[in-house]
Symmetry: C2
């Protein structure tokens, strides 16, 4: 089967590409070709099949990004929350016009006689509001409190409609806040959820802008990759018109994250500095604290591993590479 | 106050324009200028203030359509259900790119130092599914079963986000199926709901493609105009992030519409011809049969008049003009 990853140079895109390259399989079928598309040509992992890296603008998607015969498209290309908030036009261009371009590319394949490709799209918990009291079920409306979330929710609607029309076979995954991200702290409001684990493990301080009893809906990088691969292979017919899924993440307190950190590396949490930040608390405080995710569970999406395993996986998979990338001792 | 009506040549746009021209007032304030925009220059009613008609493409909205100092924009321009289903690109262009153009125009006014204009947008019951069994409350998710509904729901998200960002002050009204429309049968799948009243009153046959016990959520032209004018004047702060309203229409059976027709003009329903049409039934059969509309009621949107009054209003306001326009005896 032929696979394209749009946003193939990003955090999740690279991991999906590496997994496909390593296993050579997706949903029990052999991968025969992989196209990686991003704003800069993504790194191409060594694989037992052709891997093609392409650079370009998602809103002017080149036909080669989703070549004829493509079976699965991972549409992960996005301008994330803080950036879409800072630059309205950029967010609209990438998150909406980019999705229209993906629809048009798939539609062209179908018009030329091809099968509608499975499109696995990453939407987000940020498309919801409701706050700390909210434990949302699958019927919950998306009332976004940020442009990124509004654009993701609108893109879900367009992909579901494109699916109904036979242009594609879309499955949209509303990812939780992903922890622990490798790399550095950034200006994203959610950056601290990863930083309070990653930075202490690197011997550095991390600021905590919310109280310890603050609740957050999280998923691990490993679960996110597993969910993406599962979404590429499920029988999508039970989804009907509603092609979007809330995933079985973890509803946890910041205090529980810190406790898991200490369980993996005793005393590490001494480097977590409580520094309340009302601006950050206001943004992340609008996100719902959890989802029932009953539909995704019924469709075989595996529950996220527990917090201690999640921290251990970061130590095993990403800690040393992060230390090296950041030239830390 | 300065008012723009986009889609000012359409069925509802012309009525809103006539009402403003006749009263000279909107929400207790004097209207000082009216701009009517449509694909062909709309007719300009005589008024005690300047009325300007402009023709153009909503997706390439000329700045003159929403001039500096505009207080209220009625954004009624749309490609309707059957047309958006038949021509995907046209629907996307008008219903989505057109809405983006309205956002950009309002944003430009604000960037130049103006107040964010109130934007009253017509969304639709067609943005929901659920079918005959559904009586939806205000928390119900939009899971559209047609491109028109998907585009309307996506546009609502973009307008709510533009409101949150301060580009405008949007109120989106999810209009029920409007009956009785004057004129001729048109491309909307819902066209027959009006035709089964209008055509018999004109002495003509009308085809009924669904059973008599088919339930439909309707509103009258008079209620639609009243709701649009009310939406232009309400205090929008109680809406918070969710700028969309389900309106207090009527949940009725087709049989009840036909009975009201006979009550107003005895025996008229003999001209309703039962001719099942699975394609039309499939589209309208996906729309929910009713809404609680609690939020709109609390905000002072008046309940729709009853069916007999609704048919009488068509006879009083539109029947002779329709006969004349269609050159019927």
């Amino acid at each position: 089967m032929k696979v394209s990853i749009l946003g193939g140079g990003g955090f999740l895109g690279r991991r999906v590409a590496e997994r496909l390259a390593a296993s050579g399989m997706l949903g029990g079928r052999a991968v025969t070709g992989l196209t990686l598309f991003d704003i800069a040509a993504p790194p191409c992992p060594a694989a037992g099949f052709a891997v093609n890296g392409i650079a370009g603008d998602i809103a002017a998607l080149p036909a080669a990004a989703i070549p004829p015969g493509t079976d699965v498209v991972f549409h992960l290309a996005a301008v994330v929350s803080a950036a879409a908030e800072a630059d309205y036009e950029l967010g609209r261009r990438v998150n909406l016009r980019g999705t229209d371009a993906v629809i048009d590319a798939c539609r062209a394949l179908v018009a030329a006689g091809g099968r509608p490709p499975r499109v696995v799209f990453t939407s987000s918990v940020a498309s919801f509001s409701g706050g700390q009291a909210a434990m949302l079920d699958d019927a919950a409306r998306q009332v976004p409190a940020n442009s990124y979330g509004a654009q993701k929710a609108a893109a879900e609607l367009l992909l579901a409609d494109a699916t109904r029309r036979g242009f594609m076979d879309a499955v949209s995954l509303r990812l939780p806040t992903i922890i622990v991200r490798p790399g550095r702290p950034n200006k994203a409001a959610s950056s601290f959820f990863s930083a309070i684990v990653r930075e202490p493990l690197l011997g550095l301080e991390a600021e905590l802008p919310v109280p310890d009893d603050f609740k957050v809906w999280v998923g691990s990088p490993n679960s996110a990759v597993a969910w993406l691969l599962h979404a590429a292979a499920i029988d999508s017919r039970p989804l009907g018109l509603d092609r979007s899924l809330n995933l079985p993440g973890l509803s946890v307190t910041v205090g529980a994250i810190i406790a898991a950190l200490d369980q993996v590396r005793q005393g590490a949490s001494a480097r977590v500095v409580r520094r309340p930040d009302p601006a950050i608390a206001a943004i992340v405080g609008g996100w719902p604290a959890g989802f029932t995710a009953a539909r995704a569970r019924a469709l075989g999406f595996a529950p996220n591993e527990g917090l201690v395993d999640l921290v251990r996986a970061f130590v095993a998979d990403d800690l040393e590479a992060t230390r090296r990338d950041r030239a830390l001792p």
